[in-house]
Structures are given as C-alpha cells and as structure tokens.
C-alpha cells in the first residue's frame, strides 16, 4: 500500500468556492426515526421498483416494500417500522413524479396492539438479513446480498451496484477505483464517512475485490482532505495486494467517473454508450463501499445514509445519518431550523444538485446533501446573448463546445447540438459556472439530451412496431 500523487490532469475544470468548512468538522449525528417517512420507489437510476404493499399495511424495518423491476433497477426496503398511510405520486428531488410509500412510524404500537396488520412475513429479531462471512461466501452469494440489500451508487447517479459489480462476459475489471473526491461544494458526507467509518470501507473493499476477481485498487481523494487521506492510509496500512491511495489535484469535477479514471490510471472511457468497465475499471463511491460491508457482515440493508445539511441559511450545518425517506423539513429541523429565510433549496451540491420547490420531499439513497442558500448566494440566470468568449470551452472537462450547443438550442436546433456531441456532456455545470453572460448553458445541454433521448426512444418504438407488423404479415401469409 502506498500513497501517490495523481500525474494526470484532465483538460478543463473549474474552481468553485467549496464552502466545506461549514460542515467538515461536524461528526456524523444519527437522527431518530421521524414521525413520517416518504419512501420513493425510484431512488436509483433505471426502472422504479414495483410497490409490494398497500395502504393500511404494517411494515417492519428492513421489510421489502418495493421489488426490483427489470435489470437496471434496485429493490426498496422499509427504513423503519410503521403503517402505510398512503401510496401516491410524489415529487422527487429531480423534478419527476414517482410512486412513494408514506409511512406513519408513530402508528406502530396501536397497530400491533390491535393486531390489524396484514399477514406479512415477520422480520426476525436482530439482523434483518443473515450475516455472511465474506471469506467463505461465494462470489454469487455476495453479489446476491448486494442486490437484496438494495444498494445503488450513493454518489449521486444511483446506478445499481450489483450490475456494476458483474462485468459483462468478456470484460474484466482490472482496477477498482474508490471515489472519495467529493468535489461538490458544501458536501462533506463522504469526507465524514472516510474519517469515521474507515474500517468499514476497508472491509467493503476486500469484499468487492473478491467479487471482482482481485483487481488493483485505487483510492482517489482530493488533496484538500488530508485527514481523510490519513484515515485511509491507516485503515489500509496492512492490506495485501496492489492498493494505492491516489491524491488528486483540487479541481471540479474531479469526482466525475470518467475524469477520476483518467486521473488515477490514465485510461479514457470512450463516448457513450461506453461504460468504465469497457476500459477495465469500476468506480464506486466510498459510502457505497461502506454500505456493502454492512450488508454482508452485519446483514444490514441500505436503509439510511449520511446527508450533509449545509448552506448559509441553516442554523447549524450538520452531517446527519438519517433513514431514507426522511423529509427535508425534518433534516432542517434537526439542524436547528433556518437561520435566515432561504432563497433557494438544493438537493445535492451547488454544481449538480437540484433546486426544489418544497421541503416536503423524502431523502433517497442518493441524497448526499441538502443546502439552504440565502439570497446573497443566489444568482439569476439571464438570457443575454453569447459573446463567444470561449470560457465554457476552456472549462468543459469533456472538451465540448458548450457555446455552440447553447446557441443552437436557443434556436431549437437539436441537430447541430447532436453533431456537437452533446450526448457526451456530463452536465457538470462547469460551463454555466464561468459564463460571463450568465447563460443557462448546462440547462440547454440537458434539454438537448432530453429531446435526443426522446427521439431515440420514439425511433426504437417505431422500429419495434414495424418489426412486429412484418412478423404479423409473415405469419398471416403463412396461415394463408
């Protein structure tokens, strides 16, 4: 095990104000189960889980309430005991509507006393899932555990972890990269996890190494987190095999999968639809790794996560360990409420997070932060014309031409945007960040990507329909 400095700097990137000092020294605090939980069926990337409970059901902590619905999907478990108050479409942080189970966690005593709960397999006392010994368990058992524990990437995108950990046939994982960069401003959740849960991360790495067939391990941490680097060095001091801690230069978006792969092992992931595994890499967030070790060794599924609540409008910024589904309002209340009335609420960090309209939203497995910003930290986008200054080009870590894309999209010219490789855009926001004309460049990219995706889906559907028609025709001809 050794610590090295990253030698490979990607092109572009920006230096936003990190504002991490607000919450970086706040130890993780556990939030008592709030009275109401809003557990979304769509906490991950891919198809939403299929809801297994109905209104009035009583559920136990850890009970399966949402079933995996497709290959790219993740199951959902109840994060506390309680009674299902309602199942309705709720607004998610990203603006989409998804089915959510509303749990009343105060109702449990009377429900039990009255014995009105529907017959559900009662959860065993103690661990929710039987603990596994990772040394003796097979690879398949471990993978299955990751899947049934409902683990998805906790860095933000929420890609199903079991899918990531099973490389397609013919592809081998050569490098397992631990993402501890946490380049998003304000957020310190991963940092605290690295400090406080280092042994868990070490165990998770050993489990993942076993699943992936002993790849080399790279732990990527930005240079502005020396304590985290030290904690990792201590935890991994006596580990065998090819393990390195790579200290990355402080640059946004260092936490982006593709850029981290470049910075640690100098491999370049080709344009979409290529994935990191195509260049022999698997990147996992440090929080996810800790969750894997919990799921295997303790039999504890992914039911809670650390969320940073920060911003200049919150009374005491904190890193909170809260059950998934905790409402934002409960998190803010736990931090002592609002110091000044916020002008903007952001779910996630300031560079890639989502502005939300209400605090009546439940956290998910991917909620890494909740920021309350005062009016002084909120700026207005404008529709000023692009002056062609080229700052967005220089900032773009994907080496695109955001100016061209935004100008084309302003004139509703999706074709030009597509020709300018807009689908490669990772929506990191570096372009809008530095735009002197305050243009909504990232939003234009999102819009272009959404309309291209919609068009592709329509084309696929049309092709499918045509193929079916042909088939029918052929069958009809045969019958005749």
């Amino acid at each position: 095990m050794k610590t090295v400095k990253s030698q490979f700097k990607f092109k572009g990137g920006v230096h936003p104000d990190y504002n991490k000092e607000l919450a970086r020294n706040q130890p993780i605090e556990k939030l008592a189960t709030p009275a109401e939980l809003v557990i979304s069926m769509s906490q991950h990337l891919g198809a939403p889980a299929k809801c297994l409970v109905k209104v009035g059901d009583f559920v136990k902590r850890g009970q399966l309430i949402g079933e995996k619905n497709g290959f790219i999907s993740v199951c959902v478990r109840a994060s506390a005991d309680g009674k299902v108050k309602a199942i309705e479409k709720r607004l998610g942080p990203a603006g989409g509507m998804a089915d959510a189970v509303i749990l009343d966690t105060t109702a449990k005593e009377e429900a039990l006393a009255e014995g009105t709960e529907t017959p559900t397999p009662s959860a065993p006392k103690g661990p929710i899932l039987p603990p596994l010994d990772w040394k003796t368990a097979t690879k398949e058992e471990l993978l299955k555990r990751v899947e049934e524990a409902g683990i998805c990437g906790m860095g933000g995108a929420g890609f199903p972890t079991n899918v990531k950990l099973s490389p397609p046939p013919g592809k081998r994982c050569e490098y397992l990269i631990l993402n501890g960069a946490e380049c998003e401003p304000y957020l310190t959740a991963d940092y605290r996890v690295m400090l406080e849960r280092a042994p868990r991360i070490r165990l998770g790495v050993e489990i993942m190494r076993k699943i992936l067939g002993m790849p080399a391990v790279r732990i990527a941490i930005e240079a502005n987190k020396p304590e985290a680097i030290k904690a990792m060095e201590e935890a991994f001091a006596d580990i065998e095999g090819n393990v390195e801690i790579v200290v990355l230069p402080v640059l946004y978006p260092q936490g982006s999968e593709k850029h981290q792969i470049y910075a640690t092992v100098k491999r370049i992931v080709p344009e979409p639809p290529a994935l990191p595994i195509d260049v022999g890499c698997v990147v996992e967030n440090v929080g996810t790794v800790a969750a894997i070790s919990d799921a295997v060794e303790l039999g504890e599924p992914l039911l809670e996560r650390v969320t940073t609540v920060s911003g200049d409008a919150v009374a005491t910024p904190k890193n909170i360990l809260a059950p998934c589904g905790t409402k934002y309002s409960d998190l803010v209340a736990f931090c002592g409420g609002e110091k000044i009335p916020p002008a903007k609420i952001i779910s996630g960090g300031t560079m890639m997070g989502f502005a939300v309209s209400t605090l009546d939203i439940g956290t998910t497995k991917t909620t890494s932060g909740l920021l309350l910003l005062s009016p002084s930290r909120v700026f207005q986008y404008s529709s000023q014309a692009c002056i062609n200054c080229g700052r967005c080009l220089r900032a773009c870590p994907m080496n695109l031409n955001p100016a061209e894309i935004s100008k084309a999209m302003e004139a509703d010219d999706v074709k030009t945007a597509e020709d300018a490789h807009v689908m490669t855009c990772i929506e990191c926001g570096a372009c809008s960040f530095g735009c002197p004309a305050y243009r909504t460049i990232t939003q234009f990219c999102r819009r272009a990507k959404a309309s291209i995706r919609a068009r592709m889906a329509a084309e696929r559907a049309a092709a499918q329909a045509a193929a079916e028609k042909e088939k029918q025709k052929a069958e009809g001809a045969k019958a005749n």
């Binding site: 920006v14 936003p16 502005a355 209400t358 002056i387 062609n388 490669t424």
Partner: protein, 333 residues
C-alpha cells in the same frame, strides 16, 4: 377562487447553483481599462482634437445603441459597456483631426449597421469598430488619411499625409522596381522614418490610439493578466507580421510590427470575442491569417494599411474556422 398560497417561494433553476464572479460588463470594463494608457498617450500627442473625437465617438455609440434598442423594443444594453468600448476603439482608430461629423457617421454605422441590425452584442459577424473604420476609409479617403503630427501645435506644418507606413510602402515599391543597394535605399528613406524609440512611445503621426506601441503592450499585458484574452491571437498575429517582413524585405521587421494598426489590431481588434474563433486552434489560424493578409495588403495592396481589412476578412472566415476546428470530445475517437 384561488387557493391560499401559504408556502414561501424558492428560486427554481437548473444546476449549477454557483457562479464564478465574472460578467460581460466587467469584461468590457477590463478592455476599456486596458485601453486607457494608449488613450492618454494619444491625447498627450494629439491634444484637444483627440479628446473631442473620443468623446464624440463614445457618446454617439452609446446614444445609437440606446435608440436602436428602443426602436427594436428590446431591453436597453448600454449597461454592458460594449457600446462604450466600440466608441472608444473606433475613436482610437481615427486620425485626430477628423471632422467630428464624420466621426458621428462612423459611430452610427458601427453600432447601427454593423451590430444592432444583427441583433446586438454577440450576433455581429464583423467587428463594429473596424467595419466602421473600413467604411469611413472608403467613403472619406482624404480626411481618413490626413494625420496631425504629434505636438502639432508646436510645428509649423501641422498636417501630414506621410506616416511611416506610407514611407515603407515606397520601400517595397523601390525594391520591386530597382535593385538599388540596400544601404543607399536605407539612407534615403530613413529621413522620413522616425526612430524605433519614437515609434515605441508613439511620437509619430497616425491614428489616435495606434501610435504608442508601449502603451498598447501595457494594455495587452493587463488583459492577459486578467485572463480577458488568451495569448493565441496577438502572438501569432505579431509573429506572422514579424517573420513575413523578415523574409519579404522592405522595412525592418520591428518597424512593421510597431507602426500602423498592427499592435492595436492584434491586441484589441482581432481578439474581439464575438468575431474571432472560439477554439485555441482556430485562434492560431485566425492570428496567422490576420498577419499574413495584413502584410500582403501592405506590400501589394492599394491601401497603405491593411490591418483593418485583414481582420475584417478573417472575421468573415471566422465561422468556417470555428466549424473546422471543433474540439474533440474527451473519449471521442
């Protein structure tokens, strides 16, 4: 009946929710600040006529911008200082003694025809100040090529049409026709050409803002330091002029760089964001093209100075350069 709206309203916008501290008006202001040294040098050498020309151009540009926006029914954009900058740049590219009504016509052309007709800042294909200068050069050739001598109030014949450029042109001509000995040629011509030092500080006849190479370089250094411009265009532009004149003969290379509009063109005109390529590679091509065309026109063309035309032509080619120098995305084949 509308339900009661109890909740507080938050700003809803797409990420990012953070912004670097930069704005269009600040960029424009930076360029104006960078132009101040050469403006003062111009006023120092050419006196009150320079002051009047600058004031009239700036005032006309701002007024025209405001009126155009009003006529178009759009928001007023004089707050972004781009009109002030255009006015200042145009004035610095005019001879000090030019009749003020001509300066007004030029300013109206710059803002009205060459900028606002296209929809305002960011949309114009040609640099407004330069196209106005070209327009004036063609329309009012006489006044546009009649210069005041520096400190004209102290010299008996205040007006001249002979700038170092015109003199250098005759060198080219002389070299083309007669194979005179360089030595003799130099002797005869040097009488009309000021020393390099005078050229550097700007003690020569010429447009208000183009004479003082040192002041212009100072402004360029400020722009580079503030990261308003990148080195690509000025360096390739000046280097091309220098190298070309090394090989083409005629006037000494240093003199070619220091005289005429090359310095102000390379640092302030060719680097205009809107009308120059956006990619680094494109900027190199652009700078090279500007330098080459400038020298071609200087050596062979009908006008003594080719800088403005060279930049204008490269402005026209700029969309094509942009098109063919698109960056290759990270991970693209």
């Amino acid at each position: 009946m509308k339900p009661k709206d109890t909740q507080e309203h938050f700003v809803l916008s797409s990420s990012p929710h953070a912004h670097a501290d930069s704005s269009v008006s600040r960029l424009m202001l930076d360029v104006i600040i960078a132009l101040l040294p050469t403006t003062f040098m111009g006023i120092f050498f050419f006196g009150m006529p320079a002051v009047w020309t600058i004031l009239v151009c700036v005032a006309t540009c701002v007024t025209t911008e405001a009126l155009c926006r009003l006529a178009m029914g759009r928001n007023n954009t004089i707050g972004d200082f781009s009109a002030v900058l255009t006015g200042l740049l145009l004035a610095l590219n005019l001879p000090a003694g030019i009749p003020l009504w001509m300066a007004i016509v030029g300013s109206v052309f710059a803002i009205g025809i060459s900028k606002q007709v296209f929809g305002g800042l960011g949309m114009n294909p040609f640099n407004p100040a330069l196209s106005a200068r070209a327009f004036m050069l063609i329309s009012f050739t006489g006044p546009m090529t009649t210069w005041l001598k520096p400190f004209w109030w102290r010299t008996p014949d205040a007006i001249t049409t002979a700038t170092p450029l015109a003199t250098m042109k005759t060198w080219f001509a002389a070299e083309a026709t007669a194979s005179a000995t360089p030595h003799g040629l130099c002797n005869s011509a040097c009488c009309g050409v000021p020393s390099l030092w005078n050229m550097a500080i700007g003690n020569i006849p010429g447009c208000i803002g183009e004479v003082s190479a040192i002041a212009l370089a100072l402004g360029g250094a400020y722009l580079l330091w503030r990261k308003v411009i990148t080195w690509h265009i000025p360096v390739t532009f000046l280097a091309t002029v220098f190298v070309y004149s090394l090989f083409a003969g005629g006037a000494p290379a240093m003199m070619q760089v220091l005289t005429g509009g090359v310095m102000i063109g390379a640092i302030f005109m060719a680097t205009d964001y809107v009308t120059s390529p956006i990619t680094a590679k494109g900027k190199l091509i652009f700078g090279f093209g500007c330098g080459l065309l400038c020298m071609l026109i200087r050596q062979f063309g009908g006008y003594p100075e080719g800088c403005s035309f060279a930049i204008l032509i490269m402005n026209a080619v700029c969309p094509l350069i942009n098109r063919w120098t698109q960056p290759k995305p990270f991970g693209a084949k």
